[in-house]
Homo-oligomer: 335 residues x 2
């Protein structure tokens, strides 16, 4: 890659500052993920239960984990998600893994943090289709939860703020350190093979790191989808302009993290790229004006697969049962 093109990519991405020096290896634009320190374990445990609890949806069938499945890289591996009544979602579900590192949540960044994000799908008629009032009523009516809220918050009064705070606290623990790439960054040169190192070099030299940098290898800027060539999306989503109201922000989306990208297929906000090979090819063409050869593409893909870190490692939570007073799910409407 020419210096001119790298400079162009950097200025397009406005990410120069993000490629700041890391203490360990100042020369690398990607830095190792630090393991989470859990400061409030009871809050996290409560949030874990709520994350897995389909009673937060009107149907009693859809939980946070339905679309951000922690057994599958924190995604549903679908082009776009399935919502209440099998509605087809407008956008690809981003991974919840390492999402605490994002500069904002959702593809268009309309939620400033995980807590704000967590309230969205619960009340979205196309997703979990509940309301905050109903969700609170359901959780409040479950004795096992009210006891846990009392323990965690000092009061058994449930509200949506506490529910989303707990879910966000759990999600903050979902970082995936110790990938082979991080081991390599930290000095274990045997952690990658020659192809993978060559792929990383190409990833840097081609300008991918202009946007995909930092500990999450992305997630820290909004960028236009289609810098060099236009992208024809299968999703109606307009991106950041829906939040800012500025036409200049049309088709600007949050750069996704590439951590665990081997697990988070399909790719892009519209889920149109089925394989990593497709995704690398398209990114090269529309963002960098570069056509990777098959061999180059394969090397970059080999590198990307080294970004798979330690996956969630906890016991399936056991949910407290509903009481006789708990509002019942309505998957098929009121009868």
């Amino acid at each position: 890659m020419s210096v001119r093109r790298l400079a162009l990519a950097l200025s397009l991405c406005g990410a120069t500052a993000a490629i700041a020096a890391s203490p360990a290896r100042p020369q690398e634009p990607i830095t190792p993920l630090a393991p989470t320190k859990v400061s409030a374990p009871a809050l996290v445990e409560l949030g874990k239960k709520l994350f897995f609890d389909p009673r937060l949806s009107r149907s009693g069938f859809i939980s946070c984990n339905s679309c951000h499945n922690l057994a599958m890289g924190g995604t549903d591996n679908l082009k776009t998600s399935i919502g209440h009544n099998w509605q087809e979602g407008p956008i690809n579900a981003p991974t919840v893994l390492n999402s605490s590192l994002n500069l904002a949540q959702f593809w268009d960044g309309r939620a400033p943090d995980l807590k704000a994000q967590a309230g969205g799908p619960i009340a979205n008629p196309g997703e979990m289709a509940s309301t905050h009032v109903l969700a609170v009523e359901v959780i409040q009516s479950i004795p096992g939860y009210s006891a846990e809220f009392k323990q965690v918050f000092g009061s058994d009064k449930v509200d949506i703020d506490k529910i989303t705070r707990a879910i966000a606290a759990f999600e903050e623990t979902l970082v995936t350190p110790n990938s082979r790439f991080d081991q390599w960054l930290k000095g274990n040169k045997k952690a990658l093979n020659a192809d993978e190192v060559a792929g990383y070099t190409l990833f840097k030299d081609s300008g991918c790191v202009a946007c995909h940098n930092g500990p999450a290898v992305g997630g820290n800027s909004f960028q236009k989808m289609g810098v060099v060539a236009p992208y024809t999306a299968s999703s109606p989503a307009e991106g950041r302009s829906a939040v800012t109201g500025k036409d200049a922000d049309r088709f600007n989306f949050k750069v996704p993290t590439l951590r665990n990208v081997e697990l988070t297929y399909p790719y892009f906000h519209d889920g149109a790229a089925t394989t990593l090979k497709d995704a690398v090819d398209t990114m090269g063409r529309i963002q960098l004006g570069k056509h990777f050869t098959d061999a180059e593409n394969a090397r970059i893909v080999a590198f990307l697969k080294t970004l798979t870190g330690a996956q969630p490692n906890f016991k399936l939570p056991i949910l407290p049962p509903s009481s006789d007073a708990t509002p019942r799910p309505e998957p098929f409407g009121r009868k």
Copy 2:
């Protein structure tokens, strides 16, 4: 309860033999659950992954765990289940917990064992809506699975027999020993309070044990729904006659286990009883010709809640990623 009525109940249920002597406490019709001994741990681990894998469904969204949710007593806690394309199922999903103790699987017993059961929902157009051919193709295409099949079966060739054998082996581990009732049965008289013991006495004296007996407190016979008074079901299911073709078997259903019944609401094959109170009331009236007072009902319910045993206790499995060759999910049909 009169000796005559008990004798009637026993003959109706044909369950005299099942109330056989247990070595520990020969006088009790319910016997403690024995913990599982896992003889093939690698097979069980493979089965656990497959149980949680939504790629066994056409949509990529529904796994065994969707309707037999191990976080919620091995059920979906819905009246009837949600299938592919949000189809409304005809029948209540029975718990998978302790299902290895059932004399047969499904409410009508049409599958002789868990292995035969596991193949059903995968290919049922109203449930997971895949086919055995497609499910095998999907699993075969996933390198992590083929390596595990090789390790477990000595060959990486995937077939539906191996898939269902692994799922069944996992399900056989889902027994829930050490309930407070089992502790009481084994001699710890402090494990139950006076109301709970009174509820158990009433449960026995009223004839409930004629059908709900043995280690699973049920699951070991087919019985007519509506012995003394007719039951008007909201489900079209006809029960055992669908298997035997005999009119005499109409509305005969497998007696459900009452283990963990606190968690497995709503109740009956049509899921029409929302609460344990409802279920006890209806069973008394239509099966035993008995109207329990509120106080009696509450005591029986208190006893039933002591049947909640140790719930599944394992780490969320991490599923191996699809390869580029894996057939993609089709939640919204071919496009």
